[in-house]
Symmetry: C2
Subunit: 414 residues, 2 copies
């Protein structure tokens, strides 16, 4: 008999309770031990539920109760989630969380406390919702050297971009539709500005390469500046614009990591990841590309990932899952300006030929992009591959020649 406590009864927390009791028999069978929920921590009242008697408003009974072996943290946010999780681990309880912000900021420290106390700190639900990715990355792909991980990790921005690409809807309109449908929050900044995707790629990068990658070290750009014109140029180029979070290891051992909108080829497996779905590509030296696809968020998918971790924690109640990464040194993630990139540039110009000639002088050999329907007073081109710092300098010089740059979007080769 194992008791667990659930901290937080919002979207994910209520989903955890729902899936837990709905599939209780098969969960117990899979865990090999009877499991029940002893406490649900939430400041709000939830009368009339089958489990209303389990609610408490204070954290102390959970941390003080020796019967509680596993604590599920689904409150979200950094505080008090961090303090609570830390205290649970120090008190000898394994912790399962869906909180990507927490793992991205404090994963190294919390994993270390778990290791020292022979406990598990599990967070499958923090990336990719119901898509199994943490466990396959840490186990199944363990015989590979992983060259690169790239993914569409945020469903809200992917929904917005899909509406722009498929239906020619403008950004603002697509955002407000996403809000109406409950895919975007009233304050959509953490999705739209790429912060959510950034936290998730930090977790994947930390896991894959063994050292903590902090969100502050990952250059992050959102999708608010992507226009329908850009979408049309991407189609003319042969692809689509997606918000891509990516990390790879450089030859000198440092990492390159970034979140930004990018052109990707329409043949890419990531190009067909539409609507609120997520897709994660893992490029291994032995496996080649493996892609995981599914609903990256949502009550039940996320809850099912949380419960899978709970089952795993029960099965490993006295052992430890091998899930760990080290602290990292400053400079572990290199400045994005050092990393080679290719830009798509769109500018308002009066004299296209002059603009393309100037671009050729500043960037090297550029490739002009034309829309099938034609475009007046605009030019667009693809630069050669150069370190981003050089691309930025060339772009500055291009602007200084009085060409008004309307868009600058990276171009990826997958």
């Amino acid at each position: 008999m194992i008791y667990i406590a659930v901290m937080g009864h919002g979207v994910v927390g209520s989903g955890v309770l729902e899936v837990f009791y709905k599939n209780h028999d098969s969960i117990i069978a899979k865990a090999g031990e009877y499991i029940d929920i002893k406490y649900v921590l939430d400041l709000r009242d939830f009368p009339g539920l089958d489990y209303s008697n389990k609610f408490i408003k204070s954290f102390e009974p959970i941390v003080d109760d020796p019967d509680v072996k596993i604590v599920v943290e689904v409150m979200g946010g950094l505080h008090p989630a961090y303090e609570y999780v830390r205290r649970c681990l120090l008190a000898g309880k394994s912790v399962v969380t869906s909180n990507k912000e927490l793992v991205a900021e404090y994963g190294d420290e919390l994993l270390d406390i778990a290791l020292k106390n022979n406990l598990n700190f599990l967070f499958e639900a923090s990336v990719g919702g119901g898509i199994p990715i943490i466990r396959p990355l840490s186990q199944c792909l363990s015989a590979n050297n992983i060259i690169e991980v790239a993914g569409i990790l945020n469903g809200t921005t992917n929904f917005i971009l899909t509406k722009m690409i498929r239906e020619g809807m403008g950004f603002e309109q697509a955002l407000s539709l996403a809000q109406q449908l409950g895919y975007a929050e009233r304050n959509p900044a953490s999705d739209v500005e790429g912060l959510d995707a950034c936290r998730k790629i930090c977790i994947l990068a930390s896991l894959v390469y063994g050292r903590h990658v902090y969100p502050k070290d990952v250059h992050t750009e959102g999708i608010a500046n992507v226009t329908l014109e850009d979408v049309r140029y991407a189609a003319a180029w042969g692809g689509v614009i997606k918000l891509i979070a990516r990390v790879k290891k450089l030859e000198d051992g440092r990492l390159s990591a970034m979140v930004s909108p990018a052109f990707i080829h329409k043949e890419s497996q990531l190009a067909s990841v539409d609507d609120v779905f997520n897709g994660i590509m893992v490029r291994g030296d032995a496996t080649g590309d493996v892609v995981f696809y599914g609903r990256g968020a949502g009550k039940l998918p996320t809850a099912s990932a949380v419960i899978a971790d709970v089952i795993d924690a029960v099965k490993h109640i006295k052992a430890r899952k091998y899930l760990y990464w080290h602290k990292s040194e400053p400079g572990y993630v290199c400045d994005y300006r050092e990393v080679p990139a290719v830009y798509f540039v769109r500018a308002r110009v009066h004299d296209r030929q002059a603009a393309i000639r100037a671009a050729g002088r500043l960037f090297g050999k550029v490739r002009e992009l034309l829309l099938p329907e034609g475009e007046v007073n605009e030019t667009a081109f693809i630069t050669p591959e150069l370190p981003e710092g050089e691309l930025e300098r060339a772009l500055g010089a291009f602007r200084a020649l009085d060409f008004e740059v309307l868009s600058r979007i990276r171009v990826l080769d997958y």
Copy 2:
């Protein structure tokens, strides 16, 4: 220090040795223990390799050597693989295999011996090559009730169909190209006739639903009869033809399982799985659809899956991974004729209107399919959903009216 033995030095076996020694340091780090290969069993000679001194031609030293804790079986085929694996397990050695035929035929028995001897019998590489699927299914999705599993599980047939769809190449020509490229064997029967896909869906079905599904109980059709005309009709319908292996649980607890070519919608995530790639869709009640995509075969992807299992076996040398299914009773997989299906039917006719009227009488409301370029002396239609037995009877009656049926392909709703 853990010694392993590798039985078989063919494509997969040599890949196991290659990946093992190439990534030796990181494999040891991940396993947490020094691992080396003590024996490689093969009847052939392999002089001039770094590990040529490890070759033996007889199985006995492996089974008799108490130092060997883990045996990798990558010989393929049922015999003597089955006898060797069985004896290894009885001798207290965990076994890792890539042999889908072995697992599909004898999985229940071998898992049972492993359970009774507190050993691991692992086979991640048997399905989906380098795509992690066995472990995510058994662990990550454990909080779900899995409604259905459907996949493109055979790379050779998918390559052939892709050439037919994308390049209008005929079946025979595509097959011979696949043979030239080494994707198909000289005797391509087990791929082309669907047997390979059948073995893999048997393994997934056994794992997901907990009881062994034997290949003989799964109705299996290959792709040899798929024509370019069928491919064109599928496009007109709005999809593509893929060889789909699938299983789902019926309300009465029995399973429906089948391998056959099928029309799937072009928006399906499986529709974009092209060339030698595999894609596996898992439909859970909580997660929704999750899709795993990657190279389903090949030396290095398969070898990397084998080695991931070896690492896992080392980490669980005295514990057991929860991987088990029971024997099944006759009748566990229902006769495919009981299960509702939709057919695409194409027939040679002189009078189209008469044919469609006859089809309407026999099948119920049918939908005629027209090619954009038109087609003389042919008609094609989609039937309503009926139990396959009824569809077959109606098709027999349609034939009896002297309409020559050229094709009959199932139509799926994903």
